[in-house]
Amino acid sequence: MSHRVFVTGYGLITSIGNDKVENFESLSRKRAGFGELSILNTLHSRNLPSCEIKLHDHELSRLARLHHARGYTRTALLGLIALQEAIDDATLSAEELKCTGLLSATTTGGIREFEKNFRAIIDLTQHGDFVQFTDTANPGEHTERIADRVGIRSYIGTLSTACSSSANAIMQGAQLIGAGKLNRVICGGAEALSKFTINGFNSLMIIDAQHCRPFDAGRNGLNLGEGAAYLVLEGEDIVKQQKKKPVAELIGYGNANDAFHQTASSPEGTGALRAMEIALAKAEILPGQIDYINAHGTATENNDLSEGTGIKRLFGTNVPPFSSTKPFTGHTLAAAGSIEAAYCIMALQHQVMWPNLNFKEPIPELELSPIIDLVQGNSLKNVLSNSFGFGGNTSSLIFSGTR
């Protein structure tokens, strides 16, 4: 018997808003976070514009309600801000937090601070303020730090499966609840921009120096972004007991592997198709019951073709309305899954579907066109969210409205 899993609150911070309300406003007004970098110090601040959160770390500390932010990496700060909003949104008490789990995802952890002081950190003779970041590069560190801060103790984990990371965190949280191991898990991810990622993706030649164009015939790569988002997942028992009003239900999820190449997706979209099929099977619904797809849609030549092919194979001639929100937020890597899950839930709450910016011409092999304007007032019930990453990791989530 599998317990049903509900979302009772969520929080997020991205380059288009510091919280849910700001993000909703920006999405509704087609306001993207793309532009030159002014916070991160990099050679590429002008030639590789990205979706940067225009707040310095000390400003993030204030938003995170920290008086002393020693040892907090930018990833941890972003995570804490989003986590606190999620906790407030779900109105969780300190007692409840003690019995709550936390699953967070990141690909970089504190690499941004590590790269700044790399040589000094590993030099045994050097000391200075940077020592606060001696051991914060590793991805698991941020989870423990923010768990400590909010008082979460009962179950902690950190995931890292590239761009599908936080989707997998949400999935694992759902499975822990479904199996009765935990009643409540907060799941999501956090990612800060860094020279490491900018140069890493640039060396793979998949960054677009212009604003990205998902699913467009002329797409030329992705834009990077930073942010964090967390969903509070609760089992049906406590939702009923405490008469909570969930904002959505997580009815399906699927994790599969493309097994094609380390960094590229198969042209047939095999992994994408499998993940979506498994999610539908778990949700016990048919493809025709999906009302909207929030695609992974990074705007790389490879992903959009692969994902689009997978979508066509699954939905045939009845592809539901779909869009990628990555032109708004950039590709937030590990945080993408949870940020976009939050956008799906927002879509259900407000009965809207988000536009896919910068689209002009469909990819010839696909002839698929995403929605390009905000669509309002539909009877949106089931929403599918895709997240695909390096290592062939493909994950899909299906949320259902609770009205």
């Binding site: 790399f118 950190i121 423990e144 103790r153 499966t161 191991k181 599969a256 380390q262 062939g392 990791n393």
Partner: protein
Amino acid sequence: MTADRMTCYINGIGILAPQETSDEGVLLEDIKTYDNNRLTCITPDFKDYINPVQLRRLSRMLRIGMTSAIICLRNANLRTPDGIITATGYGFLGETEKFLSEVLERVEKQITPTHFVQGTYNALAGLIGLTTKCTGYNNTYVSKGFAFENALQDALLQLESNHNANFLVGGFDEAEDVLHAIGTKEQFFKTEKIQNTQLFNSRTQGTIQGEGSAFFTLSGRASEKAWCILGDVKLIYRPATEEDLASALENFLEANKISLDKIDGVLSGASGDVERDWLIERLEASKFSSVPLFRFKHLCGEYCTAVSFATCLGASILKKQFIPKVIRHNAIVPQSNGIKTLLIVNHYLNRNYSLILLTRHP
């Protein structure tokens, strides 16, 4: 609890460690000693496991990880698992260091991609998936001292909904230079050089650096050559007092319907760090004084996923019904009717505590 409760079997193991290992498991007959506080894996010729076209690009940790995974699959007589879950604390730090150095030295110009790609935490899980053509579930945990335990818990969840599946689960970490520098600065490691066999006699702060990669195939169906049963796993985060830890232990035993006097051995993850071992030592003294007590970190060193070495060791003990002398920490011997149940009690830096229950099969 579901009506048809799944029993999880460890059907295959594959391990590379700072001690000799083989298809027979972790037998610890001839102990390798180390004098510089860093224990490193004994490695085979990788060409026997990985094809040269793939091998050329792989970092040392990827080679070790991949090889131990292949040893495990061969041990389990399994070509393609149904799912792959890996766990690591620090991943491929060497690759990250190489990439960062290049970025900094070349001032962000003309950067090559290989080290970036090979430095991603899920690189091994992806590589195994690619090599075995496994299109199933694929996940990676990077939760420092909880990573391997999270991976085991995940595998147990997956198997509950598909008893017949075979999941490949592994934990790995490298005794890497950058990590050694970090550990030294954070006072994780002893400043005085000791021989690893003397780890628990040196009553000073700090432990010794280790590494390893241990993989297991788990399934709800026992194979003919199953090693043992993985009963349960529990994570305890930052217990403040001995009572916290002790009551977690009691709850765990109760949930698994077993009493302490039925435990035939405790594998303790004491690390030889007199400051950080205080809680586990108290637990050993208060709860395990009448139980055969074993320790293992003098043989593999300390690293985030060292508990995977203990799991291999535990599986070997249960299958071979033999306890290597070198792990015994007290004079209590198991009862004469065989070694049926082992409990692993591990900690990492006095923050991440875990309990793993292993039982004999059949």
